[in-house]
Amino acid sequence: MARTIQSLERAAAVLRLLAGGERRLGLSDIASTLGLAKGTAHGLLRTLQQEGFVEQDPASGRYQLGAELLRLGNSYLDVHELRARALVWTDDLARSSGESVYLGVLHQRGVLIVHHVFRPDDSRQVLEVGAMQPLHSTALGKVLAAYDPVARSEAMDSGREALTAHTITDPESFEEVLELTRSRGWAADVEETWEGVASIAAPVHDRRRMPVGAVAVTGAVERVCADGEIQPRLVAAVRDCARAVSRDLGAGRF
C-alpha cells in the first residue's frame, strides 16, 4: 500500500466532523472526538481556515465549514445565474442612483465584473463585463474581502499597491476597513483606485448565506459624496439592491 499523509487524513476527518449537520464546534470538542492533541487539532484548523475550508465564529471561537469548500462542489452559484437574477434590480439601482452599477465576484486575485449597467445618461459608455478590478482598493473588493475569507487572504497576501494617494496599503488599516465593512454592511472607495471616482458596495448572499458577490454604484466623487461624506441616499439604494438580489437567490432576511 502506498504511503498516505497523516495530516491530510486528519484534516479530512475534521471536515467530515464539521459537515455533520448545521453546527459549530469548539476546539476541545474537535480534538477529543477525533482523539487528537489540542495543539495538533488547532494546527489543522488554522491551516484549513487559511485555505477557506473552515471559518471561526469571532464571538464564540467555534469552528464551522468555510465558503471555499462550497465553492469546490458542483453546487456553486454560476455567475451567469447571478447576473440573470440581478438584472432587474441592478437596472433599477442605476435608474434611481443615476450612476453606473457593477456586479463583481472573486476571481483569482481580483474582482471579476460579471454585470455592468450603464449610467442612465446619453453618454457613450463601454460595457466592462469581463474586466478585472483590484481587490484591495475598490468598494467591491473590500466587500468581498470582508465577507469571504478566501478573498480576504488574497487581499492580505497581495502587495496592496498604492494606486492613488488615498489607497490603503498597510495591513492593520486594511483589516480595520474590513472590520468596519462587516459591522456596517457596506464599503466605500473614495479615490482609492481611480482619481476622481468613488463607489459604494454591499454584499450579495445566496441561500446558504454565503457571500457570492457584491454590487456597487460607481461615479464621479462630486456626485457620490456631498460635503466630503458618502451620500446616505446612495448607500441605502445599494444595500436595498444587494438585499433584493440576495432574496432572489433564496437568502432569508438578515
Partner: protein
C-alpha cells in the same frame, strides 16, 4: 409638486401563461407588479385553450394586487393600458357575458386543415395582399370559423347578433367597462391586424374576406386606434380611463420607443419576435415576413411594421437543459459556451418543426453539422447561442431586402438579454450595435405609454423617448472575413436540414 408624485399609469399584460398588472410612474419606472398564472388546457394533441372567466378573474385580482403593493388607490391611476397575447380567440354571449367555449390559444393548430382548405387553389397567400398575413392556424379568423362550425347552434346566434368575438384585449376591455352593463366592444388596429380579417390599408374589416372565411360581421368589434380612451372602467377601478390596447409584440416595439422608420426591436424569449418600424408604408414582404400594424395613436396615421419570428431560441437552451442534460440552468449555457473560443466547426440548426422565416420549409428538421472528434459539449453550447444570432441575421437580412431600410441598431429585451455572450454574438453577426434598455418590462411599458399618451399624462412620443435609458450596448468585434465565412457555414448547415421529411404530414 406633491400631486405629481401620486400620479401613475397601470398596464395589464394578459399573456399566454399569466396575467400581470404593472404600475408605472411618470419616469416610466416600475412601482409595483401583480401577477397570476392561469391554467393551460390541452383537450387533445395540438389543441390549447384558456378559460376566459378564469382570465378575467385573474386580471381583476392582479390589478388589486398591484395597486395594493404600490400603496395607491384608483384615484391615483390616471389611465389603464392593455397589452395581450395575440390571436387568442374568444366568442361570448352579449346578453349574459358567458363565453360560449374556452378561448382558442394562438398556438392551437386545430385550424391547420381549415387554413389549407381556405387557401384552395391559390395557396396560403390568398389574403396576403389585403391582410399582410399568410393563411396560418395562428390567426384569429379561422379560429372564429372553427367555433361557429363546431359549437351547436352558434352560427345562427352569431348571425342574429347575440354573440361577440374578441381577442383578449376586447374581452378584458368589455369586462372592464361594464360587461353586460354597457361594456364597450372594441379592439385596436394591432390586434385586428392579426385576425386575417382586417384590410391593412383601410384599417377596417374586409367584407369580402369575412364572407370567404364564413365570419358574420355582426360578431366583430369596432376597430379603434391603439391609444385613445375607449371608455371608463367600472367596479374596482371606477372612473379610470381605459386608454390603450396593443398586441404584446407591438407593445414591446412601443415600449422600446421604436417610433422612427428603421428602428427595430427583438424580444428574446422561448421564441423570438423581431419587429421593424416601416413608418406610414405597409411594406409587402417577398421574403416570408409578416406585414402588420405597429401602432396607431389616436387619429394620427398608422405606423406599420414588418415582423419576423424565430420559433426556437430560448427553447433550444431549455432543450439542452431538459432533454440533453448538458446544463443545470438556462444561465449555465453561457458558462459552458464561454469555456471555448469558438464553435469548433459545429453548427446547430434547430429546425425542430421545420424552417420558418425566411425559408418556410415544413419538410426540414434540425441538424448539428460539422461534427468532428474534436467537438465537445462546450462547442455545441456555443453553436446553440450562435443559432439564435444567425437566425436573427437571416430575419434582419429579409427585412432589409423587403423594406430597403438598413438597420442601424437592434434594441433587445426578454429573458435571454441577460446572456452577455449571446448579445455580443448577435452584434458580431449583424455587424450592428445591440442595445438593451433599462426597463426590462417593455411590453407592459408600451401599453402604459400608449395609455398615458391618450390621456395627456405624457405630451408626445418625444417625452417617451426621453424616458428611454440605455442599460448596455454591445458593439461588433468580429472581423468581416470571419463573419462572411461563418455565415457561409451557417447557410450550408441550413441547407442540410431541408427535405428531411419525404412528404408533408
Amino acid at each position: 409638486m406633491s400631486d405629481t408624485r401620486r400620479e401613475f399609469i397601470a398596464a395589464i399584460d394578459q399573456g399566454t401563461t399569466s396575467s400581470r398588472c404593472i404600475v408605472f410612474d411618470r419616469d416610466g419606472r416600475i412601482v409595483s407588479v401583480g401577477q397570476k398564472e392561469h391554467e393551460q388546457i390541452f383537450p387533445e394533441p395540438g389543441r390549447v385553450e384558456h378559460d376566459a372567466n378564469e382570465i378575467w378573474a385573474n386580471v381583476q385580482e392582479v390589478i388589486a394586487e398591484a395597486l395594493d403593493r404600490a400603496g395607491i388607490t384608483r384615484e391615483d391611476v390616471q389611465a389603464l393600458g392593455i397589452t395581450n397575447q395575440r390571436e387568442t380567440t374568444l366568442l361570448w354571449d352579449r346578453a349574459t357575458g358567458e363565453p360560449v367555449h374556452n378561448a382558442i390559444v394562438w398556438q392551437d393548430t386545430r385550424t391547420d386543415a381549415l387554413c389549407r382548405e381556405l387557401g384552395r387553389n391559390v395557396g396560403q397567400d390568398r389574403f396576403r395582399r389585403e391582410t399582410g398575413l399568410p393563411l396560418a392556424s395562428y390567426f384569429a379568423g379561422p379560429k372564429i370559423r372553427w367555433l361557429l362550425d363546431n359549437v351547436e347552434g352558434l352560427r345562427e346566434r352569431a348571425e342574429a347578433g347575440e354573440i361577440l368575438f374578441g381577442t383578449m384585449d376586447s374581452w378584458v376591455i368589455w369586462n372592464l367597462t361594464g360587461g353586460t352593463e354597457g361594456g364597450v366592444h372594441v379592439t385596436d388596429v394591432t390586434n385586428a391586424s392579426r385576425t386575417l380579417l382586417m384590410n391593412l390599408r383601410t384599417l377596417d374589416w374586409d367584407p369580402r374576406i369575412c364572407e370567404s372565411m364564413g365570419v358574420p360581421m355582426a360578431v366583430l368589434p369596432e376597430i379603434r386606434s391603439s391609444a385613445e380612451v375607449y371608455g371608463e372602467a367600472r367596479g374596482a377601478l371606477e372612473g379610470v380611463p381605459v386608454a390603450s390596447a396593443l398586441g404584446d409584440q407591438q407593445a414591446a416595439l412601443f415600449g422600446q420607443t421604436c417610433f422612427s422608420p428603421g428602428e427595430a426591436k427583438s424580444t428574446y424569449g422561448t421564441g423570438t419576435f423581431l419587429l421593424l418600424n416601416t413608418g406610414s408604408e405597409a411594406v409587402n414582404s417577398y421574403n416570408g415576413l409578416l406585414t402588420t400594424v405597429g401602432y396607431r395613436i389616436g387619429d394620427q396615421d398608422p405606423v406599420y411594421a414588418l415582423e419576423g419570428s424565430i420559433a426556437v431560441t430560448g427553447s433550444l437552451v431549455q432543450w439542452m437543459r431538459d432533454q440533453m442534460g448538458l446544463i443545470n440552468s438556462a444561465a449555465e449555457i453561457e458558462t459552458l459556451a464561454s469555456s471555448v473560443e469558438d464553435n469548433g466547426g459545429a453548427y446547430f440548426v434547430p429546425a425542430f418543426s421545420g424552417l420558418f422565416a425566411p425559408y418556410w420549409r415544413s419538410d426540414a428538421r434540425g441538424v448539428i453539422a460539422g461534427l468532428t472528434r474534436y467537438v465537445t459539449k462546450a462547442h455545441i453550447a456555443r453553436a446553440v447561442l450562435e443559432a439564435t444570432a444567425w437566425q436573427t441575421r437571416e430575419i434582419v437580412d429579409a427585412m432589409e431586402k423587403d423594406s430597403r431600410v438598413e438597420l442601424t441598431a437592434l434594441r433587445v429585451d426578454g429573458g435571454m438579454t441577460s446572456n452577455n455572450l449571446l448579445m455580443q454574438c448577435i452584434s458580431d453577426v449583424l455587424d450592428a450595435p445591440v442595445v438593451r434598455p433599462m426597463v426590462a418590462e417593455t411590453t407592459c411599458l408600451g401599453a402604459a405609454y400608449a395609455a398615458g399618451l391618450a390621456v395627456g399624462f405624457w405630451p408626445d412620443t418625444d417625452a417617451l423617448r426621453a424616458n428611454w435609458r440605455r442599460a448596455a450596448e454591445w458593439t461588433p468585434r468580429m472581423e468581416a472575413d470571419v463573419r462572411e465565412r461563418e455565415y457561409k457555414n451557417w447557410l450550408k448547415a441550413v441547407e442540410r436540414t431541408m427535405g428531411w421529411l419525404e412528404e408533408e404530414n
